[in-house]
């Protein structure tokens, strides 16, 4: 119930934002009858309608089942916990994208791998450092040396 309602709210928000952006698409002398904004606007309206229908269906199902079914116990981690953990992992990835051009591919990987492993619960120690350096070097050898990919950054061993 809560998940479907959240879903319909998220969809409605996407529909509104996308509609507003589609409305501001510039006109062109070369445009056809439908125009560059024609289908995007239609998609936004359709998504809005789907969001409304989903909300209505969820509310109806809740109303029909309220008396008959006891609330179910949630199993597994809650949405808030999953989002917080995922935000951390995403931040580590974003950090890699932000620094790789500055410090170079090998060093950035040498930071990404232990950061992710530590975040996933490994303890900081010699093993982690050795594995990180070995893995970063293996990736460098594979992509830069073997596959000849010009990886970003000025500092590459």
């Amino acid at each position: 119930m809560a998940r479907d309602l959240t879903c319909s709210l998220v969809l409605a928000a996407i529909a509104v934002v996308y509609y507003l952006l589609a409305s501001s698409i510039g006109a062109s002398a070369l445009a056809d009858e439908v125009g560059p904004a024609g289908l995007p606007l239609a998609y936004a309206v359709l998504l809005g309608a789907v969001a409304l229908l989903l909300a209505a269906k969820t509310a109806l199902e809740y109303w029909l089942a309220r008396a008959a079914v006891a609330p179910q116990q949630r199993s597994g981690p809650g949405m808030g916990f999953v989002l917080r953990r995922a935000a951390g992992a995403l931040a580590i990835g974003a950090g890699y994208v932000a620094i790789v051009d500055v410090i170079g591919y090998w060093l950035a990987l040498g930071l990404l791998i232990p950061a992710m492993a530590l975040y996933q619960g490994r303890k900081l120690g010699r093993g982690l450092i050795v594995i990180s350096i070995t893995a970063a070097s293996a990736f460098w050898l594979l992509f830069v040396w073997l596959l000849d990919i010009p990886m970003p950054g000025p500092w590459i061993p």
């Binding site: 998940r3 479907d4 879903c7 998220v10 969809l11 996407i14 996308y18 952006l21 589609a22 698409i25 510039g26 062109s28 070369l30 445009a31 056809d32 009858e33 560059p36 024609g38 289908l39 995007p40 998609y43 936004a44 998504l47 789907v50 989903l54 269906k57 981690p77 949405m79 916990f81 999953v82 989002l83 917080r84 953990r85 995922a86 951390g88 992992a89 995403l90 990835g93 890699y96 994208v97 051009d101 990404l112 791998i113 232990p114 950061a115 992710m116 492993a117 975040y119 996933q120 619960g121 490994r122 893995a135 970063a136 594979l142 992509f143 596959l147 990919i149 010009p150 990886m151 970003p152």
Partner: protein
């Protein structure tokens, strides 16, 4: 004779056999990791294909798919956790055999049936693909628009529990496909002044983000995988008598796998459960099913390996991916500048021949590597998940950067990953979104071109016979899916009332 000469030439001039073997090995390892689906395994191998000739690249991707379908059965049998969705049916009897100390026999049946299914699927792929692609030679813009609608109509059967959520996911994909220059007037749309977005968002970035990054983000909130017992298991091929007993379930699996693979949207999971059900129904020992029946492994494994080949039929013929893995393969074709359809067969016949030849060697490789690689799979499954996740993250970044040497692409993949995680949390399926992204441009550009041709008259879609036929099939598909959905709902309510 000409074809045989061409095949020998291909084998001598391109690394087809190594690509097939490497793809299968990678696929088995990836499929063996719980949570790492065939599509994720394929997305991770993509960067290694950029530097290859298109034929070897496509062979490596499709061989990965073949290998992953077998790899998925390893944790299903050994630790009661399917490595892939399609291996879920294998759990039922595979794990029961493992508990009886017959895990090695179960793995042998899985590998043997997978090889049979793969050969059958390859035969069907060769027989069906080109005749279907020839149909597309007569296509007009109206027919291409109708083909796009037919592809999108698959959403009705891909939506899982909620049709509305499937529709919403498909619309999100169509919205993503509108980013970039307008196909008719060239006006920039949703680019926010960013030059990198003028050419649109490459579908492959969305696929890697949705499948691989979102899985990684979600895995960051779950614990360790269950560990496998490395001491007891040694793969054992079935005896002659058992092989005769397995023929019938393998035939069920292969035929159902062909049908489900060719039908966009059906996929390996449905095929394996359907074939399991049919094998039980027609078995002389139905009472053994669920308690360690060899037939209960043979049917689903033959089915999901057949699907790995036949799912390529709609991709190669029309460019319509029927499953996540087929969508990644389509992404691989597009990255190498190969457009599916009849022209692919005319202009890049060598690529198609490479694919068929490579899949043949991939199947042979699977039979050999399936035995050799088992210890490596068990070792990998027993590694700390934290390191595997960290290496996968590094592999995603290195691989995506290798496409266009663009840091902007890395940011896009992360954004797609975040979108994928949100979609997982609110229960939106991925494949409708991928279909929207892949087919959005085809639908919009041909719809508008058709209207330019007709001066705005929509009757042009009815007057074009191919377009009308395709739209009729799409309508049938949608109504069929809706009817099936309604029937299942009524049956479920009936059972609940009892």
């Amino acid at each position: 004779m000409d074809t045989l000469t061409q095949i020998f030439e291909l084998l001598l001039t391109t690394p087809l056999v190594p690509a097939a073997a490497a793809g299968v090995a990678w696929g088995i390892l990836g499929g063996a990791l719980p949570g790492i689906s065939p599509s994720i395994t394929m997305a991770l191998v993509l960067p290694f294909t950029y530097g290859m000739d298109p034929g070897s690249a496509i062979v490596m991707l499709s061989a990965t798919y073949v290998g992953a379908e077998y790899g998925g059965s390893i944790p299903a049998i050994l630790i009661n956790t399917p490595g892939t969705n399609a291996a879920a049916a294998t759990v039922l009897d595979g794990y029961a055999m493992q508990q009886q100390g017959r895990g090695g026999e179960a793995l042998g049946i899985s590998l043997y049936s997978g090889v049979i299914g793969s050969f059958f699927g390859l035969l069907m792929l060769v027989l069906l693909t080109e005749p279907l692609a020839r149909v597309a030679l007569a296509f007009t813009p109206m027919a291409y628009f109708a083909l796009g609608i037919l592809g999108l109509s698959v959403i009705a059967s891909l939506s899982g529990e909620s049709l509305l959520k499937g529709l919403a996911a498909g619309l999100i994909g169509l919205m993503v496909a509108t980013v970039g220059s307008d196909p008719i007037s060239g006006v920039p749309r949703f680019t926010f002044g960013e030059a990198d977005l003028l050419d649109g968002i490459p579908p492959i970035l969305i696929m890697v983000g949705l499948f691989a990054v979102s899985e990684l983000l979600q895995q960051s909130s779950t614990g360790e995988w269950q560990k496998a017992d490395r001491t007891r298991t040694r793969l054992k091929f079935p005896s002659g008598r058992l092989r005769r007993r397995l023929l019938k379930p393998q035939l069920f699996g292969s035929v159902i796998g062909t049908f489900e693979g060719v039908m966009p949207g059906a996929g390996g999971t449905i095929a394996s459960f359907m074939s399991y059900n049919e094998a039980r129904r027609w078995s002389r020992h139905p009472e053994e099913f669920g308690k360690g029946s060899p037939e209960g492994i043979a049917a689903p494994e033959a089915a999901n390996n057949t699907v790995a080949a036949t799912a390529l039929v709609p991709v190669l013929s029309f460019g319509i991916p029927g499953s996540n893995s087929a969508a990644i393969l389509l992404g691989g074709l597009l990255v190498h500048g190969l457009i599916p359809g009849p022209r692919l067969f005319e202009e890049n016949g060598d690529v198609i021949l490479s694919l068929y030849t490579g899949l043949f060697f991939a199947t042979i490789s699977m039979a050999i590597l399936g035995m050799l690689i088992l210890p490596a799979c068990l070792w990998l499954v027993n590694r700390p998940k934290a390191y595997l996740m960290a290496f996968i993250y590094a592999l995603i970044f290195s691989g995506v950067y290798s496409i266009d040497y663009s840091l902007f692409d890395l940011a896009l993949v992360l954004a797609a990953g975040a979108m994928g995680l949100l979609m997982r949390l609110v229960g939106l399926p991925f494949l409708p979104t991928v279909l929207g992204v892949v087919l959005g441009y085809l639908v919009e550009s041909n719809y508008r071109r058709s209207l330019v041709l007709s001066g705005g008259d929509h009757m042009i879609f009815v007057e074009d016979r191919i377009a009308l036929g395709l739209l009729a099939v799409a309508a049938l598909f949608i109504f069929g899916s809706l009817a099936t959905r309604a029937w299942l709902l009524v049956r479920r309510r009936g059972s609940a009332a009892k």
